[in-house]
């Protein structure tokens, strides 16, 4: 086929009216017919529909097409779809070229109503560029890459645990990597969780179980399929689906989990006391401590920042489980797929509404700790300054979220959390007044509304208002001031002010994104492949997202998203291999002068020098093309993006320059 003249078919899509409203689609199709090598051009309403795809296949047969161009939407959306279509019709998928006349033409210029004619011209330009390029496309084969049944799950919150246990139940090996010393994530910090009022350390039921299990039952630790790494971060990461290599860096725990009998002697003798971060400093802990009472793995951990290394614990330990001189550990693992479930952090509203300034201004997460029966306060509602029951509790919603100054997104869970706490307070301390200041009450979830009704029934007060100012009076109580639209002011005295602070990307998410090559969106959450239909996939094959690392979600959503991520990760692992196309760099050894420039710039070490010429490891090459530019001899080329292909595309795009006035 390569020897013959290419026979190009152009299919222009109306996309309902999405394109046709701005671009004169039949005209573009008609124009395409005049372009070199084009033997067929036509338009359709929805090229991507089953019918549309069938039409392409029919025309390929009818006109013996060797190249196919679809001018429709972004290739990010449907390039894979149409590649599959042409493949089914017997054409190499790389003989397919996509021209984006929706996102780049009709939608981008929809508001420029007077310029629709020019938009049509632009569409023609783009189609022409595509045609020029298509004529020079080459057939590219594929190779298979083995995908071992091993997955790395980063983050052991509810989403990570859900994914881990499901994968293990399905027979896959899982490396579960958790940064903190204990599993459970944020949900373990909550006393009760929304809706079912279940306890925060409940984890999803495993195979054959019909009920949640307590995290502390060590279901995860005892599974031979699951390798748990606590206090561990992914330091280095490289590779591709089927062959991801990660270097795990573990901080020393100081206590050997295997040997420790949990007798508690070390904690008795430790002389150091520091505030307990799990309880936001409501109580103290020792330097050797349980991160929280139900923590798993169930062994104390030494906080080397506050430890004085006095050696008392080492001496007291009956089984010699303590090693104060323990060093960090590193482990290299190779996995087939990766699930990222790193969760979120709570926005620290420093400087907002007196947070950090007045003691009685706290966040909802801290209130959750106060209300947890296992907390140092025994679950007694109190205010921080005098540890007395507050008579009036105020809650401010959307602190840091829905706020152009901080985060534009809605954090989705704060209304539920506030509602849960308000109801809990009213049920247990009916005398205490609870007032919620909100923009909108957002309880989106099955039967979540019940809490709102409960809150109203119990007499929780709701004000749709923006708080302008918070001041503290002499008794450490607070005065909230609201500016009404009509210029009047209203004040509300409260004893305890709870801020519903935003859910924001976890600390270190940016670094992780960098390590794993993930995209992040404006607010810093990881970006999914497609917001609607591929919410757990990423642009990197083999890496999937679960839980609140991609956007704020509650526990229920995180847990089923974890399961969904497991499902997607299991697809390549169940097949055991994936097809990797060879749109990779290729060296013309006759031209190569052995300067090793390409070798030097390759970010993936996919190039090595042998016998004075460069050679490419095709599975390792990711096809960025940095090497191509660097080559002084034009010996290395990137298939599918060869220089000549780009040149012709430029030529095609600008072929009409000077020909007529645009």
């Amino acid at each position: 086929m390569t020897n013959e003249d290419p026979r190009i078919g152009v299919f222009v899509c109306k996309c309902g009216t999405n394109i046709a409203k701005v671009v004169d689609v039949p005209e573009v199709a008609e124009y395409a017919k005049s372009l070199p090598n084009v033997v067929y051009a036509g338009w359709q309403i929805f090229t991507c529909s089953e019918e549309g795809q069938n039409i392409i296949k029919r025309h390929i047969k009818k006109h013996k097409l060797s190249r196919v161009i679809v001018a429709s939407c972004s290739p990010k959306l449907h390039e894979p779809t149409f590649r599959r279509t042409v493949m089914e019709a017997g054409i190499n998928p790389f003989y397919f070229e996509m021209v984006n006349i929706r996102e780049q033409v009709s939608w981008a210029h929809m508001k420029q109503k007077d310029e629709y004619a020019e938009a049509t011209e632009k569409a023609k330009d783009l189609v022409r560029a595509g045609v020029y390029r298509a004529a020079r496309l080459e057939s590219i084969g594929a190779t298979t890459q083995k995908v071992p049944p091993v997955c790395m799950v980063i983050g052991a919150g509810i989403a990570g645990i859900a994914a881990t246990t499901l994968l293990a139940d399905n027979g896959y090996e899982v490396h579960l990597v958790e940064r903190s010393p204990a599993l459970g994530g944020k949900s373990a910090q909550l006393g009760f969780v929304f809706m079912t009022d279940t306890c925060g350390v409940c984890v999803p039921p495993r195979h054959g179980e019909m009920a949640r299990k307590c995290l502390s039952k060590r279901v995860i630790l005892n599974d031979p399929k699951i390798h748990v790494y606590t206090q561990t971060e992914v330091k280095q990461f490289s590779g591709y689906i089927g062959n991801f290599q990660a270097r795990l860096h573990s901080q020393p725990r100081g206590v050997d989990i295997e040997t420790c009998t949990l007798c508690g002697k070390c904690m008795e003798v430790c002389p150091v006391e520091v505030p307990n971060e799990h309880d936001f400093g409501l109580a103290n802990r020792k330097a050797v401590y349980y991160p929280f009472p139900q923590a798993v793995p169930r062994a104390p951990v030494i906080d080397f920042d506050s430890c004085t290394k006095c050696g008392k614990c080492e001496h007291a330990c009956p089984v010699n489980a303590i090693n104060l001189d323990e060093k960090f550990k590193e482990a290299d693992i190779t996995v087939g797929t990766v699930i990222v479930a790193t969760g979120f952090d709570v926005f620290k509203p420093e400087g907002l509404y007196g947070y950090g300034e007045y003691p009685n201004v706290i966040t909802q997460l801290m209130l959750a700790r106060i209300l947890d029966p296992m907390s140092p306060t025994d679950g007694q509602l109190l205010r921080i300054s005098d540890r007395k029951l507050p008579k009036r509790v105020g809650m401010i919603q959307c602190v840091g979220s829905r706020d152009p100054n901080y985060y534009s997104h809605c954090s989705r869970v704060c209304c539920q959390v506030a509602m849960k706490h308000a109801v809990y307070i009213k049920e247990h301390w009916p005398e205490t007044e609870v007032t919620i200041f909100y923009k909108d009450i957002r309880l989106q979830g099955k039967e979540y509304e019940r809490y709102y009704l409960d809150a109203q029934r119990l007499g929780v007060k709701f004000y749709r208002a923006d708080i302008a100012e918070v001041e503290e009076d002499s008794g450490k109580s607070l005065k909230l001031t609201v500016d009404h639209h009509n210029g009047t002011k209203e004040s509300f005295p409260v004893d305890l002010l709870v801020l519903s602070a935003a859910m924001i990307p976890a600390k270190g998410a940016k670094e992780l994104a960098r390590t794993l090559n993930l995209e992040v969106d404006l607010d810093g959450f990881f970006r999914e492949y497609h917001l609607k239909l591929a919410p757990v996939d990423t642009t990197t094959d083999g890496i999937y997202l679960a839980g609140a690392c991609s956007s704020p979600r509650d526990i229920a959503e995180a847990s089923f998203m974890g399961a969904a991520a497991a499902s997607h990760a299991a697809i390549p692992m169940s097949k055991g291999e994936v097809e990797v196309d060879l749109a990779k760099s290729i060296v013309d050894e006759s031209l190569c002068i052995g300067c090793a420039n390409c070798y030097a710039v390759c970010p993936y070490s996919a190039i090595y020098m042998e016998g004075g010429v460069a050679k490419v490891i095709e599975v390792a090459c990711k096809g960025c093309g940095i090497c191509v530019v660097e080559c002084p001899a034009e010996a290395i080329q990137l298939r599918h993006y060869r220089d000549k292909q780009i040149f012709y595309q430029i030529e095609g795009l600008l072929a009409n320059v000077g020909a007529s006035k645009k």
Partner: protein
């Protein structure tokens, strides 16, 4: 029988309280004990190796581990014993650390006596236990997905891509569901058919997916591991092998009926294709309205069809498929606003629903994309959208339908963007609920850039006609009544369960939640699972959801289903219920008591049989069985009696009072452990007896325990809402009521029997309850 007893002093953390000499000599006196050894580090690797060797050397067949909580290092002991060929059923723990030594530091004598009783109980109990076995259960490697909307399609594709055969059943003539006709999706304004269309095509052509369009599920039979499903492939009266989808018939058909795919705002023919991107792209005759099929007069389509595909004689076809599991993805139905009197929906053509509105604006919809007032065809200048119609309304459903705010904003934005930026659009909402990735940004853009107005309302809402014009009256949150004139009013209607949900729920034994959607196994952490082990949920049949959530839930359901299929070897090394067929009289009480629906009558109605895969070993059956014929293998009535005998037989020096605390193996046991770890002290009279679920302790068992000499009984159950088996905690509670009532009416002090509910982690609460309850029991014994 050769029982080995391992006694651990845990460094010396146990032996500081307990008298180990006394314990050691006491153990020697117990029946069948052939080996006993005390060490300080039984849980350490070297000791465990010794254990393995000893079991083999001494030919031990039962093991009692008197040490710490089995929840901590249990598996280590199991592993070591299993290496020597033992099974878990042959091992029992006596928790003398967390449950004894650590919590009775001030009473060493009482603690030692309690430890003796606990060890004796374990020895008696283990003698009555039986070895456990592992069984394999082959499952048919096929899945049926019911409903082919986005959730069903996604679940089917996920599974099919993993090489699992999927039967995708859809009751309509096309797959795609609601999403196929949404026009655009928020917040990206991706056109919905553009992103769904390829998935529909893929589902239709995937080699692992068998598609059954226009097919109803009529029967489902549970074969234990598999499901035998009966499908009725409805007659389309068109031979789909011949139909080319040329649509000539639909142009010529003389019968016009309301088009359900545009929510009756347009008409379709009696032979029709639901929408132009239907998959399969075939036409169907609506038998109810076709003149040929009703009156036998017409036959135009048969004459016009170039492919001769019309077949008026076609009959329904019954198909049977056997699958390993079922995914329900039956979606939702838009709430019918005609039942809301104050909206005058039926009387007024200019009041339409969001579904109708979007179909009206859809360029490939029945109107070819136009925006006009239905009654007179003029361009609307003022559009008012009313939120929460049928939702957040106590009369219909108090639930929020979660998608409608965004849908309204999307439709408002589309009207402005694609038709006229000058249209005045107001959304009357209770709250704008835009929680979701990119939703808030979308809302802000609509509000600020497209100038879409949002007003908030209270409870009252009414549409009135005024001089032939529509006026929306609503109550402002400040109490005043406001009104808005409108050319067109669009109602954002609730998501309600799709018709037939109840029938399917009955067929599969899946319970429904309070609002008629399927109830998940756990509404927090197991949304895709149901109470039935091999039936899963995807999409909006579980409750209102938007598209990404449906897709995720579908993925979750697929994953659960694949786990069910892939784990062909179900390791039931656990306590599943066994039936004593001699005793069972097939009264069926246990069937209704089982929370896992694992029990059924055998074919001859002679006794019940237990589905070992489903059984969770909770023991609710044991409690309700009047004749003691059923119970978990190693917590059956005999084992429990032995354990109690071990606790209650007399002659332990220094202990005259035994209070038996039945504690569930889940939350409560964990709380008691934690009380130990925190060294919270409580009286040594309290002896904890571990049961799978406190709901497995029957009224007779409690009374019998008292009759046999217990000073009192405390039932420790999880919080009712938290019970792992759904109702076990409630059962324990109501049984305690019965016992206390019996005691009262027999003139006894009801306080002999106490019941306490606590959450799993609450050690402090446990210690407080234990102290109070024990004191109360002691008081009533004294009086």
């Amino acid at each position: 029988m050769k029982i080995g007893v391992l006694l651990c002093n845990c460094g010396d953390t146990i032996s500081t309280t307990l008298d180990y000499e006394a314990l050691t000599s006491f153990i020697q006196t117990l029946p069948n004990v052939k080996y006993a050894e005390t060490r300080g580090d039984w849980c350490q690797r070297e000791s465990l190796q010794i254990l393995t060797q000893t079991i083999t050397k001494k030919k031990l067949d039962r093991l009692v581990i008197a040490a710490c909580s089995p929840h901590l290092f249990g598996t280590r002991f199991y592993d070591a014993a299993e290496e020597a060929g033992m099974t878990r059923g042959q091992i029992t723990f006596a928790n003398i650390r967390e449950h004894c030594a650590w919590v009775h530091k001030e009473n060493p004598q009482g603690a030692t006596a309690k430890a003796k009783r606990l060890i004796r109980s374990a020895v008696f109990r283990v003698a009555a236990q039986s070895p456990t076995t592992t069984k394999t259960f082959p499952v048919t490697q096929e899945v049926l997905v019911l409903g082919a909307g986005i959730a069903g399609i996604q679940a089917a594709l996920d599974l099919a891509d993993r090489g699992i055969k999927v039967h995708l059943v859809e009751k309509e003539p096309t797959i795609g569901g609601h999403m196929a006709v949404l026009n655009k999706t928020y917040p990206t304004l991706d056109c919905s058919i553009c992103i769904l269309g390829p998935k529909m095509a893929e589902a239709a052509t995937h080699p692992n997916i068998e598609l059954y369009p226009y097919t109803d599920l009529v029967d489902a039979e549970n074969l234990g591991k598999d499901w035998l499903l009966t499908l009725n492939k409805k007659a389309t009266y068109v031979d789909w092998d011949k139909c080319t989808g040329c649509m000539q018939c639909t142009e010529k058909c003389p019968t016009r009926v309301d088009d359900e795919w545009s929510w009756n705002i347009a008409k379709r023919r009696a032979i029709y294709m639901p929408f132009s991107q239907s998959v399969p792209r075939k036409v169907t005759i609506d038998a109810e309205h076709c003149k040929m099929l009703t009156d036998g007069k017409c036959g135009v389509c048969a004459k016009i069809c170039p492919a001769e595909a019309i077949d008026y004689e076609m009959k329904d076809e019954i198909i049977k498929v056997e699958v390993g599991c079922v995914i329900l993805a039956t979606g939702f139905k838009e709430f019918d606003p005609s039942v809301v009197p104050e909206l005058h929906f039926e009387e007024n053509p200019d009041v339409i629903t969001q579904m109708q509105f979007i179909r009206m604006m859809d360029s490939v919809g029945p109107f070819g994309g136009k925006l006009e007032v239905p009654s007179d065809g003029r361009k609307p200048e003022k559009i008012v959208m009313l939120q929460c119609v049928g939702s957040r309304d106590e009369r219909y459903s108090w639930q929020c339908s979660s998608y409608c705010c965004m849908a309204a904003i999307k439709h408002a934005e589309l009207a402005k963007l694609e038709y006229d930026p000058n249209i005045d659009i107001t959304i009357v909402a209770r709250d704008i609920r835009a929680g979701g990735k990119g939703f808030e940004e979308f809302y802000v853009r609509a509000r600020d850039e497209y100038n879409i107005k949002v007003v908030y309302r209270g409870d009252d809402l009414e549409i009135v006609q005024k001089n032939g014009k529509l006026v929306v009256r609503y109550s402002d949150p400040d109490g005043s009544t406001k009104s808005l004139a409108a050319d067109l009013v669009v109602l954002s209607c609730a998501m309600t369960p799709s018709p037939g949900t109840q029938e399917l729920a009955n067929l599969f034994g899946v319970p429904l939640g309070s609002l008629g959607f399927y109830k998940a196994l756990d509404e927090k952490v197991a949304l895709s699972r149901t109470d039935v082990n091999s039936v899963y949920l995807a999409g909006t049949c579980h409750g209102p959801k938007d598209i990404p959530e449906s897709v995720e839930l579908a993925g979750a359901a697929a994953e659960q289903a694949s786990v069910w299929l892939s784990t062909q070897t179900v390791s039931k090394d656990l306590d599943t219920a066994i039936v004593n067929t001699d005793l069972c009289n097939s009264c069926g009480l246990c069937i209704s008591a089982c929370p896992s629906q694992a029990i059924s009558l055998d074919k001859k109605n002679e006794c019940v049989i237990v589905d070992e895969v489903r059984c969770q070993g909770c023991g609710e059956c044991m409690a309700i069985c009047p004749v003691g014929a059923i119970g978990p293998l190693n917590t059956n009535p005999t084992v429990l009696d032995s354990a109690l005998e071990g606790l209650l037989s007399n002659s332990i020096e220094g202990s005259d009072s035994v209070i038996v605390g039945f504690a569930c193996n889940e939350c409560v046991y964990r709380a008691i452990d934690e009380a130990g770890e925190e060294r919270l002290q409580y009286p040594a009279d309290l002896h904890i007896l571990e049961v799978p679920c406190t709901g497995s302790v029957s009224t007779p068992k409690v009374l019998q325990t008292i009759e046999d000499g217990a000073t009192g009984v405390i039932l420790f159950a999880c919080d009712s809402k938290l019970c792992h088996y759904g109702r076990g905690a409630r059962m324990a509670n109501s049984r305690a009521q019965v016992v206390r009532n019996v005691l009262t009416q027999s003139g006894k002090d009801p306080n002999l029997v106490q019941v306490a509910q606590l959450i799993g982690r609450d050690a402090k609460e446990f210690a407080a309850i234990a102290q109070k309850a024990v004191a109360s029991i002691q008081r009533s014994n004294r009086s």
